[in-house]
Symmetry: C2
Subunit: 192 residues, 2 copies
């Protein structure tokens, strides 16, 4: 019988990440992960549906937290200002300090088509949740759709640059740079 | 032996779309499609790798054509103006007049997770191709990434509204409305 193991989930995650780094994601089997953690495969499957789940541990409820941020924003914020403040909050609450782990995950996701698809589906779910939360606070549907897609595009760009950078700049700094570049891009349109 | 059949591909596509409409995508088998077209399954597989390919017939080379549009745009166009003109061109060249077929395809894609993933991967490939083409004409990498993601977001929004609309407005009209709403959204940011 699998019994309760203190810190089992954390030990499994740590063992999995070590193995992913050593032998690659494809070669790291669940038995090898559990052996390294000193636990049984049965214990593994109490915490994770499969090996892929380990990569996304910590993401539970992320979409819901983002939607909450939109719902609880001051009513008088214009959509773009809401996006700007929301992304700044998310950067600090959910991402800063996690660069090595997120970088390792991204490298694994890039090598596996199934994982890339899962990542894209998650992004699409995020866009839908933001869109609905904006519409619920009274944005017209077209603006809600554009704001949702744009905010995910801006944040994805900032995160990609932060993960790819050699320097020690924070995500918040990359986000500000990305927002500035977006402003320059979008405001370069001619007045009609 | 499969022999050359005049118009075989068109007959197979027409038969497939009829069946998708009548019995649904999942229930429409390749033998049923070929029987309706009066052709063999062997002929089907000369034109399509599988049933899903029928849904995406006509898309071959789309990503390349979009990238070409970016590459051949006048050198002095600002990125946003390039996006605006490029999307207007694509709307007319690739989409206008195809609403019933694209609407039917979208309904099928929405019901099948594998097809949704394929669609998302295609969009991601499109973003990468635009990004590379913009960088090749001298855009800085950050602007290239933002412009690529933003243009796909704007176009996807306009196409979604066009396919979902009850009226007879063209995609070009929906695109103009979407670009105007994007401008209002993006320009509402406070100056810093």
């Amino acid at each position: 019988m699998a019994r309760w193991e203190p810190g089992a989930q954390q030990r499994l995650e740590a063992a999995a990440w070590e193995l992913f780094g050593e032998v690659g994601f494809a070669e790291a089997t669940v038995p090898a992960i559990t052996a390294r953690a000193g636990l049984t495969t049965r214990t593994f499957f109490r915490y994770f549906a499969d090996k892929r789940e380990v990569l996304f541990a910590g993401d539970e409820g992320y979409v819901e937290r983002v939607a909450d941020l939109v719902r609880t924003a001051p009513a008088d914020l214009a959509p773009f200002e809401l996006v700007r403040q929301g992304l700044a909050t998310l950067a600090v609450r959910e991402f800063e300090g996690r660069r090595p782990q997120l970088r390792a995950r991204n490298q694994i996701v890039a090598t596996d088509e199934g994982l890339r698809e899962r990542d894209l589906l998650k992004q699409a779910a995020l866009v839908s949740a933001i869109e609905e939360a904006l519409a619920a606070r009274g944005s017209d549907p077209l603006t809600a759709t554009l704001a949702a897609r744009t905010s995910v595009a801006i944040f994805g760009t900032a995160i990609g640059r932060w993960l790819g950078a050699d320097d020690e700049r924070t995500l918040s700094e990359h986000l500000q740079e990305t927002l500035d570049a977006f402003g320059a891009f979008a405001q370069a349109q001619p007045t009609r």
